[in-house]
Symmetry: C2
Subunit: 368 residues, 2 copies
Amino acid sequence: MSRLIAIDDVDDIAAGAAILGCGGGGDPYVGALMTQQSLRAAGRPVTLVAPADVPDDALVVVIAGIGAPPVLIEKIPNGSESELALRHLERHLGRRADYLMSAEVGGLNSLYPLQVAAKLGLPVVDADGMGRAFPKLEMTSFHIFGIPTTPLALVNERADLVLMQTTSDQQAEHFVKHLAVGMGGIMSSAGFAQSGADVKRAAVPGTLSICQDIGRALRLARQQRQDPFEALLGAMRATEYYRHTHLIFEGKVTDVERRITGRWSMGQARIEGARGVLEVAVQNELLVARLNGRTAAIVPDLVAVLDEDTAQAITAEQLRYGQRVRVLAASVPPIMRSEAALKVWGPQAFGIDEPFVPIEQLVAAAAI
Amino acid sequence: MSRLIAIDDVDDIAAGAAILGCGGGGDPYVGALMTQQSLRAAGRPVTLVAPADVPDDALVVVIAGIGAPPVLIEKIPNGSESELALRHLERHLGRRADYLMSAEVGGLNSLYPLQVAAKLGLPVVDADGMGRAFPKLEMTSFHIFGIPTTPLALVNERADLVLMQTTSDQQAEHFVKHLAVGMGGIMSSAGFAQSGADVKRAAVPGTLSICQDIGRALRLARQQRQDPFEALLGAMRATEYYRHTHLIFEGKVTDVERRITGRWSMGQARIEGARGVLEVAVQNELLVARLNGRTAAIVPDLVAVLDEDTAQAITAEQLRYGQRVRVLAASVPPIMRSEAALKVWGPQAFGIDEPFVPIEQLVAAAAI
């Protein structure tokens, strides 16, 4: 199964990805602009291919932005970085990529492979390595299945290149953390090189088309003056992945604390409403929501803050005082909640000293 | 002109290089052990070739240890890092190296290319890019003559690789500074790839054989129970480079301040003697010596602290309270004192707000 992605589809993907990206994964507006421009210049759509249809021996390369998302708003990629990163990686591998793929679901990172693919006439695999967005390189399904992060090529807006080949995925993250400030806070990358056979066993399939479907449902609801939240919940619950999707809070943002530590944007947001106070902890992405001190949703389950009127996602870096919002939480696929997976991206991986409790249990317990 | 470097020659080179390395360039004992082991395993000497005899179209690669020298004492390279760095660089260049060369004169860094060359059966060029040791990547004669630092391959003791290709030499230094701690404080590198024609115009020629000659003179003096300082001054003054060599102070080390900032070892040493107090400022290397507050020798001219009995150099990281020492200062070749050169490695390049004054003028003024 394959779809063609044209200019008109980009906004839908960006809107859906921003929600599933949990406030991270890069700005959807920047991602959409870059990709539309690239599709326009190419004059042809990009083919989105289901993992099952990728030949086992194809070379699949993952394209992603890495760094602190707030930097991206002030310093938009010039559009050549990711292609340059890809070329350097290919030179190192001694082989050209046959397909591109996303590292994570997110406003920029779902679209970034499409942007390069349009330029180069390559197809994109309908899958990613996180099933949402996470802030560390080793927090991928690829890592869980033993597909290395490196060789990883990083390129900044000045066209400086760093290519790393590390002895562990954690070491790659360690180096990126140290390099982030030196390279300007945000980098474009090409890495996680894998075969079609690898994609079939290790990637989270179908996420790009799910983003598009969710985004389209939202757009149609707005066009037809229907309740966008109802449309969103309907579209998400209709997927295999996000069956348990709930609006867990409604209120006004009353405080946002944010600091860029170099590699990441860390912080928290406070939202006040009729039911009390919801606090959300952030490391690039929204990690955990606590309602009046009690955990209401926790990583890896999704937490997204949405505009009260449009149901559009507000990224972590766009959160600010006075916004009226609803907070959405959703289950992730069972494969993302396995013991092996929780070791990689469960609460403990973020230094949060509490167990993972699925959103459906939290919701049932609180009788929301 | 070429020489063969055998196991017996290594200690002489290390001893000479430690003096000309101005306290930096890595520990000579570590450098000698590694190189002797490598020569022993190879069972054959390494050919040292004068720059004039390197074919114009040959590929010359520079091998060097980069980082804070004190780390090297506790974490000796396992001997495979620099070969791995070379292999990665060659893969990136798509071509094998024909010759290896030193980045700087120093206890480890003069010998490091010999260590790899012995293993791989390659010749080494009798030259380097600093004519002494300096603490920054862009402080090379290569930089002055427009030969880029990158592509630069860095490998640590865990065999993690980082290959960078930057848009400026300063940017490469900037990245290394950020990466240093992440990579473990000390790295082995291969870079400054250049042609034989480049070497002829941009390298400081003859430095490795000068190190050997100086080291041999010291060894012979000790064997024949002659004054090693007299032998050293004689050997240095006999070279084209170090005609103005002086012992500028004699005393006891009374204080050493040292902090590893990640990329560098920064600090200063205080030496007290009959003529007052000599203070020496350190950034990996000894940069400036001040006698009772007045400048007595200043970068790029050489400053070396020598053991009072043996005239052996004491590296900056080995300096400690109670050592009885003599301090040597020497001129560098005129090409290293040109206006263009002083911009790269003159006092201002180290944030020292005073002009460069040649040692021969300082000595004449003080009537030492």
